[in-house]
Symmetry: C2
Subunit: 432 residues, 2 copies
Amino acid sequence: MNTNLSLPHVLILGCGFGGLAVARKLASAPVRITMIDKSNHHLFQPLLYQVATAGLAAPAIAAPVRSLLADQRNATSLMADAVAVDAARRVVTLDDGSEVTYDYLVMATGTTHSYFGNDAWEPYAPGLKNLSDAFIIRKRILLAYEHAERELDPVKRVPWLTFAVIGAGPTGVELAGTLAEIGRHTLRHDFRRIDTRQVRVMLLEGNDRVLGTYPEELSQKAREQLERIGVELHTGSRVTHIDAQGLKYQTASGEQTLEARTVVWAAGVAASPLAKTLGLPAEKYDRAGRVLVEPDLSAPGHPEIFVIGDLAGIQSDGKPVPGLGASAKQMGWCAAANLKRRLAGEATRPFHYADYGTLSPIGRKAAVAQIGKFKLSGTIAWLLWLFAHIYFLIGFRNRLMVMIDWAAAYFSFTRPARIVAGGDERATEDSA
Amino acid sequence: MNTNLSLPHVLILGCGFGGLAVARKLASAPVRITMIDKSNHHLFQPLLYQVATAGLAAPAIAAPVRSLLADQRNATSLMADAVAVDAARRVVTLDDGSEVTYDYLVMATGTTHSYFGNDAWEPYAPGLKNLSDAFIIRKRILLAYEHAERELDPVKRVPWLTFAVIGAGPTGVELAGTLAEIGRHTLRHDFRRIDTRQVRVMLLEGNDRVLGTYPEELSQKAREQLERIGVELHTGSRVTHIDAQGLKYQTASGEQTLEARTVVWAAGVAASPLAKTLGLPAEKYDRAGRVLVEPDLSAPGHPEIFVIGDLAGIQSDGKPVPGLGASAKQMGWCAAANLKRRLAGEATRPFHYADYGTLSPIGRKAAVAQIGKFKLSGTIAWLLWLFAHIYFLIGFRNRLMVMIDWAAAYFSFTRPARIVAGGDERATEDSA
């Protein structure tokens, strides 16, 4: 397949921001590249919550991997799930048992949900990592309102109109904010029996503030904006149980019970289990299972393996590098550059994270942002977030589509993707 | 929910072109309307094949029922599956066992697939009626290419690159034409091992010509255009068996076997089983299970029940009314007018079908059309089809989205919705 089989083979696992950045930076390098991902598309993860909340159609934030690499003749891709790395033999095993050899390996498979040992909670509280997750959550949200409308007993209706989001990091905050707006604005005129403005959106957080990676001041701003939108924020509340009826959580004043038919998990992430298969000594992993990489992003003891993005634990300028699309992309560029240096017999260089800031949307005209020393919140932060995300979306078509939908949503509060494919059963989640 | 409970209750089953037309025409009538559909959206069915072939995102051709009725204060909707009509008690039973009473009933639940008694074929040859079907077919098409690329044995690769479409009516023709174009153009540069231009698309038809409802001359034009695009057309070929490996079909020269991993069923339709629950005498149904309605579209012996769209068997000017969106819409208007006449104590009027023509797309710049006495084919028919469909799409946003995607597709042959959510197993079809 690749033109010259004598060229070194670079195997990239994962086609997120990191993996794609490596492939692109190696476009003219004397290597053969194979990109392996279990899905057939690159996903613009920062907007995934918009698909989950029916604001955008899936194809607007996803681009087929094969299209992205179509013109890069030294690269090919394979839709497959990599299950193990054998670093000694330089071989990766795929889900169908076949093996792929490599000369250089780039591990960029990111994170998965972690239920902190309570995997039984997963069916009742799905997390949001990929498009399948987004469809499951979208379907549950839309059907909860349909159930409420069909329910004649006003008491039994309440749990259908109660939404709980667990974890007040960026994903939890944007989900909770959007859920409140859906009830208060989007669906306001759509139902006859229920008043959707009575929706309760609960955001539960174990720590004492929201958006814990932001400065205290912005956490406070985020809290104010969430409450203005109508989210009930409960910090210092640790979830102890989740089932089909709702959940229990522990606060300073004891255990509370919340009846909620729709629960979304945005609390914990863990490194992709592929990291562990590398078989490094235990002290080379952090608590979330990330690989504590060398300054040049290589795996300890394996100069031919680079670990990047959310899978890599690394500090830059004495601070941990945040798990953002921007940092994954920068690590991808650095790993590609170091890989080329290795090929040329040169010394590699350490990774430095250039912090251009972080932005978290909360709702319509509500966001917080930290750009260098500037702390912003409200409409200005939201506008910044809007334009930054349209700018970084891949593909002109997707940018145009998202802009149109957002313009429509801004002026009329519509959410065009309120479509449920398939039946009414909560068990079958084959949504659209 | 509805303002005045003393008003007559009109229950509409099905939110397709017919059901929606009834609801809208009754917007200012002194009635309470309840619309029941098992999905939460109105679907623009003529473009469903574009979702199945990754040309359009689902939200572009679907509109939430609740949005469509939000401003119509005399109407409400319920997402539920109607399973039986008890005409004597004037009650409809829903899937959860609950009952809804009515004063007037409009049945507009359309058709489902019919495998002519071979329901065992369904898992291997899905049909195309709703968005779930479209995602199943899209996923199978995209994964077939991925399987072919992973398959090292060129002989084993062939069945993955062989697509069979059964039935050469409008749906079969548009699917087969698009499938051939996907291999020849869209995916041409995306793979490294396989040459997607070698894809085989077989269109099997039991009768001796394609598009049997069109004049002979246009069938011949359609055949020529299909063959130019690269579809292998086999008329006079009746399918006798389908399984996971492919299918068998009977021709004049004996039984043939075709190994094909992707098979789509576009051959037979039957009336929604709800029609039978009316319990009319057997001679009041046609062979496909449609209700042979009175000239005013009421069910025989039930002036309070109207049956419209694909569920109604009726002649107009001595010819059967074709099963089109346009005819369903016209029946909806007529049924609504007759319902109002009943309310006013006036005599009902017979339905007349105004034939504005039919259009069938075949592929890029390929279509056939019959408008009155004019028979058109090729680019001009295709342009007509294009503008007619954008014009009739519901909602400005959807029109804009479809135009953008089609403009992009026209100039670059891209299909932006080439996204598979979820795993690689053909069993789980939870696609996007």
